[in-house]
Symmetry: D2
């Protein structure tokens, strides 16, 4: 922790800050500059840091107090050099293979879901995504089929031999969703829903943690740390776009998060270009780009007839459109030394 004193802070004021740090039990290292003094505090544990920073910044003779170390530990690459590999069904995410997860935004009927799943399975896709509980900005929109949707998803997954990913929004439903799903998705709006994070931290299913549309990388990794501390170490990060001033795209897909997370954390990272752009016509290019940037997987919305979809038709690919993406992406994956399953 670095405490920057105000210009003109008196020796007593500097002493006061030093005493506080010493009383907390940490080491004090003052640096006296020409204009102002800076005090380094050594040994402050993560659990106390936020509190002490705020207390020091409250003093009128402190200009600012800065945290030095990263505010997460178990998900950091600093102490765990190799990328974590997580098994989903018969594929592994975080290794050489790039895992494609695809399916409809929302589970509508058994037939439609089966139709898409079969088409995907034939193209080689091994993980099916589909929403049973849908977060909807409008209270008037279709909220998903709920448990009925979960059952359809599971049945379809079993019928075609695919693992299934679905979102859980309510901590009360975590246990039940675990009965049907292979991977628990935490949506962007729930990235800082701490009770939910704690609950999936206790679950025995990998968690796909979407980035909050307002979240800095650091905050996203802190959210992953919550799950980790609950005992669940199988966390897959998912970049899905952040909110900016741009309105042409639904969100701004931050692909630099892919190599950045690679530097900062050992967790695997996948990309959702469907929500990231909100426009089907941009999905192929952004899928290729995500792979080239080093993503470990993709999450893409596919629907038999997007122009009749219950939700998010504008960003869904047709079966044929998705087949094109696969064809475009295979050579890109190879070009970066990976393989698209």
């Amino acid at each position: 922790m670095i405490v920057v004193m105000s210009i003109g802070a008196s020796p007593e004021q500097i002493k006061d800050v030093e005493n506080r740090i010493l009383e907390w039990g940490y080491g004090v290292h003052p640096i006296y500059g020409a204009e102002r003094t800076v005090i380094g505090a050594v040994g402050v544990p993560e659990a106390d840091k936020a509190r002490y920073l705020a207390q020091l910044e409250r003093l009128p003779y402190v200009e600012k107090a800065i945290a030095i170390v990263r505010p997460y530990k178990f998900v950091s690459r600093e102490l765990h050099r190799e990328t974590t590999r997580i098994r989903i069904g018969d594929v592994e995410i975080g290794g050489t293979d790039i895992v494609m997860m695809a399916g409809p935004c929302t589970i509508e009927t058994y037939e439609l879901t089966l139709e898409t799943a079969r088409a995907l399975r034939e193209m080689g896709v091994r993980v099916l995504r589909g929403g049973a509980y849908k977060p909807c900005t409008s209270p008037y929109s279709f909220p998903g089929l709920g448990i009925e949707g979960l059952k359809i998803l599971r049945n379809v997954g079993d019928a075609v031999g695919m693992a299934v990913v679905t979102e859980v929004m309510d901590p009360r439903n975590v246990e039940m969703v675990c009965e049907y799903a292979d991977v628990l998705q935490i949506g962007t709006r729930n990235m800082q829903n701490y009770d939910l994070l704690r609950e999936v931290g206790k679950a025995r299913r990998p968690v796909l943690l979407k980035r909050g549309m307002w979240a800095k990388l650091e905050e996203w990794l802190q959210a992953a740390e919550y799950v980790f501390l609950g005992g669940n170490h199988d966390v897959i990060l998912c970049e899905r776009g952040i909110r900016t001033f741009e309105t042409y795209t639904r969100n701004t897909l931050d692909l630099s998060a892919v190599p950045a997370v690679r530097e900062l954390s050992h967790l695997p990272i996948v990309v959702d270009p469907s929500h990231g752009t909100g426009r089907w016509s941009l999905v192929p290019a952004m899928t290729r780009a995500a792979i080239a940037a080093g993503a470990d997987g993709l999450l893409i919305e596919v629907h038999p007839e997007p122009d009749k979809a219950m939700k998010d038709g504008a960003q869904s690919m047709t079966h044929a459109g998705f087949a094109d993406i696969l064809q475009q992406c295979r050579p890109v994956a190879e070009a970066v030394g990976r393989r698209l399953v």
Copy 2:
């Protein structure tokens, strides 16, 4: 709904869009311009709008599809001209009086809470705020005392004669928090936690709905509509700053939300300058400004010794500092024809 066809869309393509709208049962009003055709669709209900917009935008010959009407109804001022008044203890929010809600960020001990509550009550404040369940970006930070904190808050409130406001984060806790609190606060991170919104929609307590730090006004009002549709019409909106690129302040307090919400909705609106700025030194000016902008109330963090607070010390006022704010604000309230209780 307005559908803008692409330049060069063929008569068949225009016909296709018209047919879709007619099949859905709505009226069609084409406008043929020199370069492109625009089709108005009349009668589309809110529940179908998002779906149909997305379906139409999926068509390659549609440039864009635009919703015309506001995506909320019951919270809109269009159909309910007068500002809603909501009773909290013995004060009313939404009328001429400006309601001050103050207290510590986090309930730490009975003694500290009582000390602040007594000081506030003597200054005339009638509503006590305090956190028992704290959303913390870091999993290592103090998460609040939980039910113990609720009990302290209730006891202190009763002891000094103040109504109490506290945050509820988990839908499983809503019923319990209702036993202790007079107002249920929904924090910024949970503005789109729909299961929680539905749960407080069923509660018999007013809801203080903070704006998501990423939320447009429209989305915030849609969140309020969720609560409304659950049957709870006592929703107080709380502007608490949005996330922008500026880093000097913790958030950017969007005071224009005050008159804007006034135009758009009949719900009362309060302002939280503590989280909105993250710096105690800016709180007095922003409190004055919020009142001048027309806020119905304020939510301010006060602590006996902010430089020893468990959380958010940097943005907390001392008792004396808060007394100064009240003194500064009384004439401002009068200047805008209101009264600060």
Copy 3:
């Protein structure tokens, strides 16, 4: 300057960083923590800081390098405690009086300008604003009357006895605009147009420096420092809204910039609620709020018939609407110990 070494940096790598700092001629103060080393560098002048920070951050064994001191000096309040007062015509900005600057967005005709100026002067306004050179997002929009507009503005100002403010966009025009204007306005898009800043730095007219819609406070103050270093110390800052994700308002007016600039700088600060909101209906509330927040002045668009204005009609006040604002604001100004001229 604080250099945070990576975890696991070797003694040689730490030595390397220390040697670089010593070679540059600055003092070295290492702090050895349990996990990592932090090195303080004392005496680095502003002119070298950016370069050295970037060089150090380039080293693979450096986690980050942080600047400690504020990157501006002459505009800082740290070394100049009193707010600077700047004379415009017969009023002074930065003192107890709040200076109202009003007028049409764009100079259209002599008659219209005179009509508004007369109305404003009768209400007591002493400074007339009006655009002759208009920055337009669209190349098809009306770019202003140019020198013809300058002449009209000057003539009208002289006829009614008002000082005039107008924008200069091109460094080639600074000298000419000085002949007609009492204050040179630098628009939001030009806040980092350094050749223009250097040019107005040499001018003998006060500069009204609008905040870039993308600019942090720090960058804004650095832009002011440019003008200062050119020799022109009469800089008035103008908050006019920043760009965020919110679309209801044209910009997000950041009123917390008012008390924040007050802390950081001795320069006076005014607020432009017309561009800040883009909606005339929000201008009265935000004008009151700006005054309550401590603004030294206001810049407001007024037009005889906004629904016929050449530009920005949606955010312009009528004469009567502006008279209302004045009436609403006088008591607010008094409530904060100021006077509205």
Copy 4:
């Protein structure tokens, strides 16, 4: 243009809006819904649109007025289906080949520039970038060598046989910079410096127009339209990151701009991952991603010794690091059917 009337607008008010549109000479198409009326206006030319929209929105009985058509014309792909190809020296941008433009952030000395240029030329790079006039946030930073830098750049370009790109910031310098440079770069801060855009619009050199860090795609294309209208049709767009709340990266590189611009405009688009990320370690991944997304070229900072660079060392590649990028990117280019020259 679509005018949405307020709920409860009277027949007279609707008539008033219709009459205004008719008086302006445009066609009127009212659509009467259950709750409100919407009026389509046909034939409004671009030059009048902004003005009329603002005038209508000023009316209290108008909810909003919406522009339908794109606010640019000549740079739009709607009327010019093929991507424009622009020749720079002996390469062409906008065709199958991906053009690599690389070099130091700032021209420091002839020797250093030559060293980098030679290394690049040997790797096959044909376009050299380098700054002589540098926009600096801090007035204390090195502003570049000016004309001396231009001469060095030209001489080095001639010596090794490379075309040269450099920034022009001041309209007064455009003519002079044209004498030395093959391509005129407009920096991010000057994207809406209209006098500069008009000046380069008259120049006989291709223009590399960087996206403003605050600019929507639409505004960027309008800036390109400015240059076009000046008579210069050789505009290359350059995505270089936008400003968001994320602080780990210097900017957020918006790669979705690549396929989006491809849809909207016929102009070629290149990507600058150096400024887009601000971190050398992220540059290789983002270069690969840019190519996979469909970029026509790249702009990358390279320096013989980044840890001694005068400017932006943190984001510069060494010669060896850049060679690695080329090697990584060649197969990616081939995977998307392009060729890296």
